[in-house]
């Protein structure tokens, strides 16, 4: 086997057999699943069912207040007051102002949940609105048909037609989610695996094993072997995560009570936003994305681009991290100072990503997705919005070519620095010095 193959093998297997790798690979998806299912479960379970007695109805509430069997049921039985409502099995008692004013009172022993309270408020407003409309001569049947029709108009579908005139269904929300998700994934992995490369190189230098190894092979082979080996570790982890999440999702569905799943579907179908913060709705969206196959998303292209930009971006930055690892000594602060010029563009790319998601065709987004320092993160934010509609082929091509050229350059540069740095002990190095080493033959 070639030397570089041996080095890749060692780098890969020592890391994959490591306990931290195994733990993080298995725990992360489990934690994610527990989080998603947990929050959905609690969102569903926390929906309280309340019976509310309505007192002092001026007449029109009885026909306009609509009960919802899963949240609030209104009851107009006479003879209930604040003294006996709990005994009769009501959660609260609603006093209505008989003159049509705006003062209403809800009396209860326990605080009503946000959802129930919101529901009651909405129903009251609707009831008053319908009452006023009816007072001004609009028939009940007309009103009903208007409400029905307007309810349908709520969902807005954005049909995008491509150059052939074929129409596709565009889903901006999903594109946003995929773009953000893959951008942030590349951002995080670039840091994690970049730092892994840096630590690995620095460790070899501190251990003084580097000199033993480079008496058997070229320093460049050692560096490249490490970078490729760790890339393999990263890809393995991704694959395992995807498989694990899929398997866990599928099996967990069987273990969840049927009733809960139905409730989840109910919640999904009802247009209303769930209370309880964005977590729950995000969890639902993820479930939705899984259960619902979405047309208009070019999955093969996105997965290919993701792998391309993950590898390209990783190779681009990992070699720079390796160069830093080769020049640092025992002092960790030294590493931090040297890392700044590398971490800055990555963080910068992330900032551009967030803005380019809402405006994928702004000049900043376009150029940042072509320049290799930022392209792996920013381009992945733009691609889900459509190729070649949002991202023309020339931009994608140019971005890929510059990224390949970019990582060839950084690897060459890092190789030069690495060769000198790995055997240089006890001396502080600066970027200026590293540039000088790179210029040398």
């Amino acid at each position: 086997m070639s030397k570089i193959g041996l080095i890749i093998q060692r780098e890969y297997f020592t890391r994959v057999r490591n306990k931290t790798f195994i733990l993080s690979t298995f725990l992360l998806p489990i934690m994610m699943i527990v989080f998603i299912f947990g929050s959905v479960f609690f969102a569903v379970k926390s929906r309280e069912k309340q019976r509310v007695a309505v007192v002092n109805d001026p007449g029109f509430f009885r026909q306009n207040l609509k009960s919802d069997s899963s949240t609030v049921v209104f009851d107009f039985t006479p003879g209930i007051d604040s003294a006996n409502y709990t005994e009769k099995g009501y959660g609260g008692i609603l006093y209505l102002a008989s003159d049509g004013g705006t003062q209403y009172e809800l009396i209860s022993k326990k605080q009503f949940g946000l959802e129930s309270k919101g529901y009651i408020e909405r129903q009251l407003n609707k009831a008053i609105e319908s009452h006023l409309l009816q007072q001004r001569g609009i028939e009940k049947s007309t009103l009903d048909s208007i409400t029905k029709a307007s309810g349908k108009a709520v969902s807005l579908k954005n049909k995008v037609t491509d150059s052939d005139g074929k129409s596709k269904q565009a889903n901006a929300g999903l594109a946003y989610g995929i773009g953000f998700g893959s951008g942030i994934l590349i951002y995080i992995t670039m840091f994690i695996f970049g730092a892994m490369v840096m630590r690995g190189v620095a460790e070899e230098k501190m251990n003084r094993i580097a000199e033993v190894i480079v008496s058997s092979c070229k320093p460049f082979e050692l560096m490249l072997g490490k970078i490729i080996g760790i890339a393999g570790v990263g890809l393995t982890q991704f694959m395992l995560w995807i498989v694990l999440i899929f398997v866990l999702m599928t099996t967990l569905q069987f273990f969840l009570p049927h009733e809960t799943m139905q409730q989840v579907q109910e919640v999904q179908q009802s247009q209303q936003q769930l209370p309880g913060g964005p977590n729950n709705s995000m969890a639902l969206k993820i479930l939705e994305a899984k259960t619902q196959f979405v047309e208009g998303v070019n999955w093969p292209l996105i997965i290919f681009c993701f792998l391309f930009y993950f590898l390209g971006g990783y190779l681009f930055y990992a070699s720079l991290f390796a160069a830093i690892g080769s020049v640092i000594n025992e002092d960790p602060q030294e590493a931090q100072a040297l890392m700044l010029p590398i971490t800055m563009p990555i963080i910068f790319a992330f900032i551009i990503l967030t803005s380019s998601l809402s405006n994928p065709n702004s000049p900043v987004a376009v150029w940042a997705s072509i320049i290799p320092f930022t392209s792996p993160i920013v381009m992945m934010g733009r691609i889900p919005f459509g190729v070649p509609d949002t991202v023309p082929y020339w931009q994608l091509g140019l971005s890929m070519v510059t990224l390949i050229g970019g990582f060839l350059f950084t690897t060459w540069f890092a190789g030069k620095v690495y060769r000198t740095g790995i055997l240089m002990y006890g001396k502080k190095s600066s970027w200026k010095e590293m540039m000088r080493w790179a210029m040398k033959k």
């Binding site: 086997m1 030397k3 041996l6 080095i7 060692r10 020592t14 070899e204 251990n207 003084r208 094993i209 580097a210 000199e211 033993v212 190894i213 480079v214 008496s215 058997s216 092979c217 070229k218 055997l423 002990y425």
Partner: protein
């Protein structure tokens, strides 16, 4: 004897110093060669050029009769650097296997040889241990084994005995002799000159990047000898015994003399004189200078010399 290594006019300058400045020497096949010099003399830089880690700025290296080709020739060289290095978290067997395969051995052959060596050096039980569990001396032994596993033609050992107890140092010394007998050339690099005096056939002494001595240990010692002799007697030595033009007394105790022979006389003249005087000679040896002393004499007055005087004390 054919030379395994020839180095001619080798130069390597760093930004701040001339690490190796025009050094030439050659090493015979199967010999034990000592590259001596104080810290910072340029030994390590020289070795790194010979092992293909550094490219020389100027000069040429010939390995086994051909121009040195780092890419292919490294598999025939074993190098143990001064700063020992092993992967701390890797199992010892796997580590030795990895390093041997990097030198071009096949997996099965490497495994067989490692087992062989481990048995010979009583390391059989180490296979599944990690380096971090080893003592310093133990990891030294492992490092030595990984250096010679691929049966190199030329073995370069930089400070091989530092950190080893006498038992293990002798064990390694024996192995080195055995390897030399089997035809390998050994290069020692050290600043502890007394350690290699007895082992090396041929030495080169470097200081501040230049070569100051080159030759066999015996030849160099003869070149620098001061005609000093130590004579012990059974009887007490009296002042009248030493009043003679043959020699001057350097040191004198009850029944021992250290003398400096005067120019133009032989040791037989001195022996004859004492026999004639009726003294029973118990022992008569020539005092040859140690390499240390020679080195100090060569660089007297420089900071390097002080470094060695300190070692002696």
């Amino acid at each position: 004897m054919q030379n395994i290594l020839e180095v001619s006019h080798l130069k390597k300058y760093f930004a701040t110093q001339k690490a190796v400045d025009d050094i030439s020497f050659s090493i015979g096949k199967g010999s034990i060669f000592g590259l001596l010099g104080p810290n910072g003399a340029g030994k390590t830089t020289l070795l790194r050029m010979i092992t293909g880690i550094f490219y020389p700025d100027e000069g040429e290296i010939f390995f086994d009769g051909k121009k040195f080709d780092p890419l292919n020739d490294v598999t025939r060289i074993g190098y143990m650097p001064e700063e020992r290095g092993l992967y701390k978290k890797m199992k010892i067997g796997e580590q030795a296997l990895y390093l041997a395969r990097l030198k071009g051995l096949s997996k099965s052959e490497a495994t067989a040889r490692i087992k062989d060596w481990f048995i010979r050096l009583q390391m059989e039980t180490w296979w599944n241990k990690k380096v971090e569990d080893l003592s310093k001396g133990m990891s030294q032994k492992l490092q030595f084994v990984t250096t010679v596993l691929h049966d190199p033609k030329m073995i370069i050992l930089d400070e091989p005995f530092s950190g080893l107890d006498p038992v293990n140092a002798n064990l390694i010394k024996d192995e080195i002799h055995r390897l030399a007998e089997e035809g390998a050339t050994i290069i020692f690099s050290t600043h502890r000159m007394e350690q290699v005096e007895e082992i090396c056939d041929h030495i080169v002494l470097v200081n501040k990047g230049t070569k100051i001595l080159d030759g066999t240990v015996k030849g160099i010692k003869n070149e620098f000898k001061e005609n000093l002799f130590r004579i012990s007697f059974d009887e007490k030595v009296l002042p009248e015994h030493t009043a003679i033009h043959l020699f001057q007394v350097v040191e004198k105790s009850d029944n021992e003399l250290v003398i400096k022979k005067n120019e133009g006389f032989t040791s037989n003249d001195i022996l004859g004189y004492f026999i004639h005087k009726g003294l029973t000679i118990h022992a008569f040896n020539e005092i040859l200078p140690s390499l240390n002393e020679i080195f100090i004499r060569q660089v007297r007055g420089t900071p390097e010399a002080r470094q060695f005087e300190a070692v002696q004390n």
